[in-house]
Symmetry: C2
Subunit: 339 residues, 2 copies
DNA sequence: CTGAAAGCGCTTACAG
DNA sequence: CTGAAAGCGCTTACAG
């Protein structure tokens, strides 16, 4: 006949702490949050009560009351498996560290519909800033949020139908530099491996490739330009196909990191007399003497984080557009022109 | 003298939508959330109003009201720069996809104090499950959360002072297999490169190394065991030091992925007659003919995600403890025993 | 230095 | 099929 003692339903609340300490909720909050105007003795009593009850403040409640701003930043990338994206995320993470901001990461696999879904979820969670490597092309659905003051930062690919900050690569300079070097050393038949033309970077790098080649007086051979190479295996086989041609290229440029790894694996295996340059550096690239167009995804992420922090402090303004350098890093023994 | 029209302070609310549609908040909620018992015509009116006002529901409010559970899962790892951790995160991400769960990621750089800080923040945000690669050794501070029903899953390293699920490697089998192979082929002087002894995996793999060597009748030479190798450069130089000895080892085993990359870079550069096996596979490992003790971080992450989902559905129970295989993958030309 | 009341934007538990 | 009231756990805006 004794009443059942109901199991604790959830976490203890500020009210519970206040009650045990014999003060009001407001006073308990003052002590917990380290505000002034609390008697030392009162503070002690609240601390003791909080510790006894293992009080852990509920941020959702706090943030709901305080308004739009949350302590979470949203980062939307293609896929954590890809070192480019994970290093980007590492850079963002690094920038956010000291500022008590949490990082919500979602991946899209570069699918526009999935981008909509994950961004939507982040907006409903009221992230305090949104960074994304866009896969969709229309971002007018973000316009409302922008007007509400949400810092929005595009990475790797520029905003099109929305005004936003961006951190991009200077794709042209690195590619030009590489092609210039190759043509100077006599290469005329240079092949290029690129990702899907829907991707801004793929198209921009390919354009730079064509322009640089033309400028050097070496008309690009469209048969040597392979697009829609999206992963390591397909890059490996596309490279093998190029090498198996009757008129193989004398040099190959790979226009992103996954493509580089695939191409290099074929080149190492077959060991043809073919020069090579790859976009993005990678583990063992230096050791293997592979020339690369170096860029630093961590730096890109870090910049994005810095912009977000600045926006949160100073509010909105004209959109920032940062262009990060890419430059040719030549390696190799000399027995081959560039690789 | 006209009154200033105040700028919209924040997002429109369910109340705003209800007002515009001429219904109560509850009815608006029913329509928005797709509940039954709403007249089609009413539903339409609510939808129209919501679209006009660009209503975006506030998840913080919903989750606060609904109770402890949030739609966010917390993942605590060492560092996103390390492919082991980023692939682990990719696996978790993958498992969570279809379930509308968001992923909050925080990195600790393997510092116990930082782990406390980020875990604390996640708990205050009321994550619905917590996964961590622990760097602290005492996790009794999680006991309260466990009792409140929070699914807690340890990855890579086991829980010590708290009851929790775990997904670990069978470190012994892979290392034994590798050492068995090396000793069978005649190696007696085998060096090992390991991370800090504070790390469970480092110690466990080193123990397996010593045991396997002893079993094969080849007493381990402590001078050939290098501990506290924590990154690629230090692994590279530690390898160079080993090779420069008067009595260099005839084989080297690297006990994690970063150490492997560093060791391989030195081995490729110096090209000594030294066999090699590395823990964790890596890009170009197969192409370069490097033998590895293969494991799959994505799989570990995926398993953790699955356990979390199961716990969320079926509630608590006896802790699960999954041990994932590691196995020797032999590559190489045959001119060297294992590498 | 302290506290009572109201409110953030939803959902719950009812009542009709 | 619809709605009014109360409440999730905090903070705000006051009042003392």
């Amino acid at each position: 006949m004794t009443a059942e003692i109901p199991p604790r339903q959830g976490h203890t609340t500020l009210q519970d702490v206040a009650r045990l300490a014999g003060v009001s909720a407001k006073t308990a909050a003052r002590a917990i949050n380290g505000e002034s105007n609390v008697r030392a003795e009162t503070r002690e009593r609240v601390f003791t009560a909080a510790a006894a009850l293992r009080f852990r403040p509920n941020r959702l409640a706090r943030e709901l009351r305080q308004g739009a701003r949350t302590g979470a930043v949203g980062l939307v990338i293609g896929n954590l498996d890809n070192p480019f994206y994970s290093q980007l995320a590492a850079g963002v993470d690094h920038a956010l560290r000291e500022h008590d901001l949490e990082l919500i990461i979602a991946s899209t696999d570069d699918e526009p519909e999935r981008e909509r879904v994950v961004v939507q979820a982040m907006l409903e969670r009221r992230v305090t800033a949104l960074m994304l490597v866009p896969s969709a092309t229309d971002h007018s659905y973000l316009e409302g949020e922008r007007q509400l003051g949400l810092p929005i930062i595009f990475l790797d690919r520029p905003p099109v139908t929305v005004v936003a900050d961006s951190v991009l690569w200077d794709n042209h300079s690195g590619v030009r530099e590489a092609i210039h070097e190759l043509t100077t050393r006599g290469h005329r038949r240079i092949a290029a491996l690129a990702d899907s033309p829907e991707l801004f970077t793929a198209t921009e790098r390919l354009t730079a490739f064509r322009e640089a080649l033309t400028e050097a007086g070496a008309e690009p051979d469209e048969a040597l330009i392979v697009a829609r190479v999206h992963d390591v295996p397909s890059a490996a086989s596309a490279t093998a196909d190029l090498l198996a041609r009757d008129d193989p290229p004398t040099a190959i440029i790979a226009l992103n990191n996954r493509i580089s790894v695939g191409a290099v694996s074929t080149l190492l295996r077959d060991d043809p007399a073919c020069a090579f340059v790859g976009f993005d550096d990678f583990d063992l690239g230096e050791t293997l003497g592979i020339s690369v167009i170096a860029n630093d995804p961590r730096e890109m992420g870090n910049h994005a984080g810095q912009i977000a922090l600045r926006r949160l402090k100073d509010g909105t303004g004209a959109p920032e557009r940062i262009s990060l350098p890419t430059r040719l890093v030549q390696r190799g023994s000399g027995e081959r022109p560039v690789s």
